[in-house]
């Protein structure tokens, strides 16, 4: 960084030399030779030295430019990489509640585009702006030294120029904040509709989505055009002001150039040429500062968005001295647990139960009853706001979360497969697993047969979210992943919903192999899928309404479970 700044400083310094040499050549060599005060032969040697000095200056300048560009570019690539890494690592640590609040498109923009804009500013913005400011001061001193009358014409308006650039920057900042908000709205539509394209097509909503995208696209374009309108008006106006100052210099200089030599106000041609060359250089730093105001405002808006994420603290945090359960035995106890996602509405209310290692618990009840929330709390995706959750007798808030979650397996209702091969997806929780172990897990999950029928077998890339596989196939890959992961506590969230009978049979077979010897919480709407459950918990309105074996719950007069069982029995013949 220092080398880059030093090189940039050197460039600024040596850039002031050529105009001085040009004036020196005219006033001290060319004119005296022309009026015969010195001999051409004597003058030539000095002239060559001046030209050689100029060549040396250009050589030093470009060498310094090379050092500066290389140092700053490389350094800033490192900065950008570290920023992206820090942002992504921070995102990995944030709680699920954060992702529930933020939209995917906006987060992707922060990791990619916003860090890029920061890089652009860091790479060239900071150095260019600081050196341009130094150059302006240096030039002002040189101009006043050369000719104080003309020098003041050029330097006195500089504070006004700086003020106008500052005010312009303030306006641009507001415009960019607005434009990026609109841009995020646009990317939100992309991240929303592209993964849900099946639903869009199924409901024939392509035209509506086109209109929605078109509207936000127009809004984004409108905001960026507003930015372009503002800076394209400001910039020529600023340059017109500078050219006005140059014209004032000419108006004041012309009569003095015509004054007889020796007159008190006479201006030599060499001094004026030097002056004009410096005036030309005067435009460049103003231009850089003017342009950089725009870049800086983009970067400030981006920095605000990046640091908003970095400053967000995860809601689920490890204790200062976390406990490692090695291994987890599988006892799970809820002690008067209460929880709400928004801190206002409670979705789990004063729930207490105790589950022994290896026990399989069926969670049933009406939608919105709190079944999924109970499993989210067991996996410690959220912390209870009241009561305690104990695993093997230890409060989950005291556990090392990463270590604890490695011993938990989840087979969700809609399994998420990453864009990668079937092999990568099965090995997701155990990347070092051998191919033999992968095949064994896939066999246990009833997945091996269909996987081997794919053109590239386990190396088949399943596409984003596993779209190239059927729902049942995705589910079996997900079960194979859970089997390979070998968890002590297993959560099954409606694993056989929305599949045909034959697929359900295969998945149930696979689940039968998977649940053996583990503590299992299985959410189910179809009670027939809970044949293996040791006990069944009925959740209703956030409370544990009933708990017991299938027979015990059926024996309850007016029981919720009994009612559900009877309802499904009534439905069965009609299906």
């Amino acid at each position: 960084m220092l080398a880059g700044f030093a090189a940039a400083g050197l460039i600024t310094g040596v850039s002031l030399v050529p105009p001085y040499l040009a004036g020196y050549l005219i006033d001290k060599i060319v004119r005296p030779v022309q009026d015969g005060s010195i001999l051409a032969e004597e003058a030539l040697e000095t002239a060559w030295m001046a030209v050689a000095a100029m060549a040396l200056v250009y050589l030093v300048r470009e060498a310094a430019a090379h050092v500066r560009l290389k140092q700053m570019s490389v350094l800033d690539e490192f900065v950008a990489r570290d920023l992206r890494t820090e942002l992504y690592e921070h995102l990995q640590g944030l709680s699920l509640s954060f992702y529930a609040r933020k939209k995917t498109g906006g987060l992707i923009t922060r990791v990619s585009a916003d860090t890029d804009r920061l890089w652009e500013f860091l790479a060239f913005g900071i150095v260019d702006v600081s050196l341009s400011a130094v150059m302006l001061v240096g030039l002002s001193v040189v101009l006043v030294n050369l000719d104080w009358r003309l020098g003041l014409v050029m330097t006195l308006p500089v504070p006004v120029l700086c003020w106008s650039i500052f005010k312009h920057g303030e306006r641009m900042h507001r415009l960019f904040a607005r434009a990026w908000r609109k841009w995020s709205g646009l990317t939100d539509i992309l991240s929303d509709t592209i993964p849900g394209m099946r639903v869009v097509k199924a409901f024939n909503q392509e035209e509506r989505e086109k209109r929605r995208f078109g509207k936000r696209n127009n809004e984004a374009m409108g905001e960026f055009n507003r930015i372009h309108h503002t800076w394209t008006v400001f910039w020529p106006a600023l340059m017109l002001g500078i050219h006005g100052m140059t014209m004032a210099v000419w108006i004041l200089a012309v009569p003095r150039l015509l004054d007889p030599p020796g007159a008190p106000t006479a201006l030599t041609a060499g001094t004026f040429v030097s002056f004009l060359l410096y005036v030309t250089m005067f435009v460049q730093p103003v231009e850089v500062i003017g342009q950089m105001a725009r870049v800086m405002n983009r970067a400030t808006s981006s920095a605000h968005r990046v640091f908003e994420v970095l400053d967000t603290e995860p809601e689920v945090r490890d204790a200062s001295r976390p406990v490692l359960l090695e291994p987890v035995q599988g006892t799970v106890e809820f002690d008067s647990v209460t929880f709400g996602y928004d801190g206002v509405q409670q979705v789990v209310k004063d729930v207490s139960f105790s589950v022994k290692p290896g026990e399989m618990i069926g969670l049933v009840g009406p939608s919105g009853g709190g079944k999924t929330t109970v499993t989210n709390l067991i996996a410690r995706f959220y912390d209870a706001v009241g009561g305690r959750i104990l695993v093997d007798g230890t409060d989950v808030r005291m556990l090392d979360t990463g270590h604890y979650r490695r011993q938990i397996g989840i087979v969700p209702q809609d399994p998420y497969l990453f864009h990668g091969s079937v092999l990568d997806n099965i090995r997701y929780g155990a990347p070092e697993a051998s191919l033999e172990a992968v095949v064994a897990a896939a066999r246990a999950a009833n997945a091996h047969d269909f996987v081997c029928r794919l053109a590239l077998g386990y190396d088949t890339v399943v596409g984003e979210r596993g779209q190239t596989l059927s729902g049942g196939e995705r589910q079996r890959v997900s079960i194979a992943r859970a089997i390979l992961h070998d968890p002590r506590i297993l959560i099954l969230d409606e694993a056989t919903s929305a599949v045909d009978t034959e697929t359900e049979r295969k998945i149930q077979q696979a689940i039968g192999r998977l649940v053996s010897g583990r503590t299992v919480f299985a959410i189910a709407h179809r009670l027939s899928t809970l044949a293996r459950a040791d006990r069944i918990f009925v959740m209703k309105s956030g409370r544990l309404a009933e708990a017991g074996t299938h027979e015990e719950l059926l024996a309850l007069e007016n029981g919720i479970y009994r009612r559900l069982y009877e309802l499904q029995g009534e439905l069965r013949p009609t299906v």
Partner: protein, 175 residues
């Protein structure tokens, strides 16, 4: 008469091969028509070979599929088969899926959606195409595998062992 029985009768010549059967597993042989047959226990059937890990481990984990596409046998290690079965399986694998070993990369060029490759292989010069978004895959051991639009596989077992020009071509696309 069931399909396997028909297959067994047709495979009269295959009986001789049961002597070579590995007691623990499967015996394989090719009939005169080139069809690969497999026998396990009392059952024998024509089979089709399928690599389960064509990129990650193309020489192991072979699924032998019957006419219903059901898995008849699974060969985890070719080397555990007896010599004649091993030879038959290798021949069937060579026929089932072309796996060219690339010895040099002559040229790689791109059009709008397609990347054209010109390579030298142990089987001679080849030209093939891949989709632009289909990049060569690095396999365990550091080799590369390229799958063309027709599904043929091109293997570069050791990219570093190629000549400088080939390495230069691959550098942009694979290494």
């Amino acid at each position: 008469m069931t399909r396997p029985e028909i297959e067994d009768r047709k495979a009269g010549a295959g009986n001789a091969h049961s002597r070579d059967r590995d007691r623990r597993g499967v015996a394989l042989w090719r009939e005169r028509d080139g069809q690969l047959w497999a026998a396990r226990g009392d059952r024998r059937t024509p089979v089709r070979v399928h690599r389960c890990f064509p990129w990650s481990d193309p020489e192991r984990h072979i699924s032998l599929r019957d006419h219903n596409e059901d898995e008849f046998a699974y060969v985890e290690e070719i080397n555990v088969l007896n010599e004649s079965s091993r030879a038959a399986l290798r021949e069937a694998l060579a026929i089932a899926g072309f796996l060219f070993e690339v010895t040099a990369v002559t040229e790689v060029s791109e059009e709008i959606e397609i990347r054209h490759w010109v390579v030298e292989t142990r089987q001679g010069s080849r030209r093939f195409q891949t989709k632009l978004e289909d990049w060569p895959v690095t396999v365990p051991g550091g080799g590369l595998l390229v799958r063309d639009v027709g599904g043929d596989l091109y293997s570069v077992p050791d990219p570093e062992a190629l000549d400088r020009t080939s390495r230069d071509w691959l550098w942009a696309y694979a290494v």
